[in-house]
């Protein structure tokens, strides 16, 4: 078989095969790099904060789109007087306290719940609602699902949800809430910002390019298989003809 492989005809075949393997290898690598590049671009695109109104559904009171969960967002508007509620029993570094959720009214009139942060108690001066136009940077979170149906206790809600907030405030609010990370201008005294529960938005995986990468490598392996198989068939033929002579 080796002698046959070294004949000019089979050497040419081997060179062609090698060229195909090299080509398939690099085509696979190209698709692999594309997979990574697409992922990186998608991740970079969602790491860039966008105005919250761009990621909410239409109409804004519809449930939060999946791709909006964990998105860094900005909200510009003014905190609405009387649209603030405390979330009971929320500790910060083991210190008992509550969360402060305040509705931020955007220029378009949408009331967006903003989790401004943590306070040690309901009488803390930081619970005062600032009376300035602000831009809040934060991360969009979905409604909290635990104790979703729980009734407010002492005017404090148990879990943050569109339904609970709409019930307390008596008007429609956007779904989910923005966890404040920074605010311009600052308006001290302010609650202590808390970290978001979900801080990485999901991006679709470029499965198509990922598969294409593997398929190119499968084709390369297939080429080797064909070459060996044909070489063996021809070698077997030669042996049988030389035997019959």
């Amino acid at each position: 078989m080796l002698r046959l492989a070294l004949t000019p005809r089979w050497l040419v075949a081997a060179v062609v095969l090698l060229a195909l393997i090299v080509a398939a290898f690099f085509l696979g690598r190209w698709q692999w790099d594309r997979t990574q590049a697409i992922l990186a671009a998608e991740r970079a695109a969602i790491a860039e904060p966008v105005d919250v109104l761009q990621v909410l559904a239409d109409p804004v009171t519809d449930p939060l789109p999946n791709e909006a969960i964990g998105r860094p967002v900005t909200v510009t508007g003014s905190y609405a007087a009387g649209r603030q509620v405390l979330v009971a029993n929320r500790a910060l570094d083991d210190a008992p306290g509550a969360w402060v959720v305040t509705g931020l009214r955007t220029g378009a009139g949408v009331l967006v719940p903003v989790l401004r942060g943590w306070v040690p108690g309901p009488d803390d001066p930081a619970t005062a609602v600032p009376d300035v136009v602000v831009t809040v940077s934060g991360v969009l979170q979905p409604d909290e699902l635990f104790y979703a149906g729980a009734a407010p206790v002492d005017a404090q809600i148990v879990a943050i949800s569109q339904e609970a907030l709409a019930g307390v405030w008596g008007e429609d609010v956007a779904p989910g809430f923005v966890v404040l990370q920074s605010q311009t201008p600052e308006a001290p005294p302010a609650p202590t910002p808390v970290p978001p529960t979900i801080d990485v938005a999901d991006v679709p995986f470029p499965l198509q390019n990922f598969f294409y990468a593997f398929q190119w490598w499968i084709f390369a392996a297939f080429g080797v298989f064909l070459y060996v198989r044909w070489l063996r068939i021809e070698a077997a033929k030669e042996t049988s003809t030389s035997l019959s002579e």
Partner: protein, 113 residues
């Protein structure tokens, strides 16, 4: 020539399935990029990408059943390669299937059923 009929049936199914999917995708591609602004990723439906993925794997299966058939029929290298490549060219797999079918009839290798 053992198992030629089974191998041909498998090849036939794959030639048609791969061919139909590829033909549909070709039409879809032309319509999509020509009239529906698919160069903008946002307007590309998920099913379109899924079908291309499906075609990729269907072609891998097509290769396997195609090479199995070609070896059983002792096809020469060039003919085998043409049959295998037909799975990547729109509509070509239908002609490849017809070509093999005619050849089998001529060689009287088809089961009488």
């Amino acid at each position: 020539m053992k198992g030629v009929n089974g191998a041909f049936l498998r090849y036939r199914i794959m030639a048609w399935v791969t061919g139909v999917v590829l033909a549909a995708l070709t039409v879809w591609l032309i319509v999509g990029y020509g009239f529906l602004d698919y160069s903008n990723v946002e307007s590309k439906p998920a099913l379109y990408g899924l079908l291309w993925m499906l075609h990729g794997w269907l072609y891998v299966v097509y290769l396997i059943v195609g090479v199995d058939l070609a070896f059983r029929l002792r096809y020469p290298v060039l003919k085998t390669l043409l049959i295998l490549l037909a799975g990547t060219v729109p509509f070509a797999s239908f002609f490849a299937e017809a070509w093999v079918h005619r050849d089998l009839k001529r060689r009287d290798l088809l089961a009488s059923s």
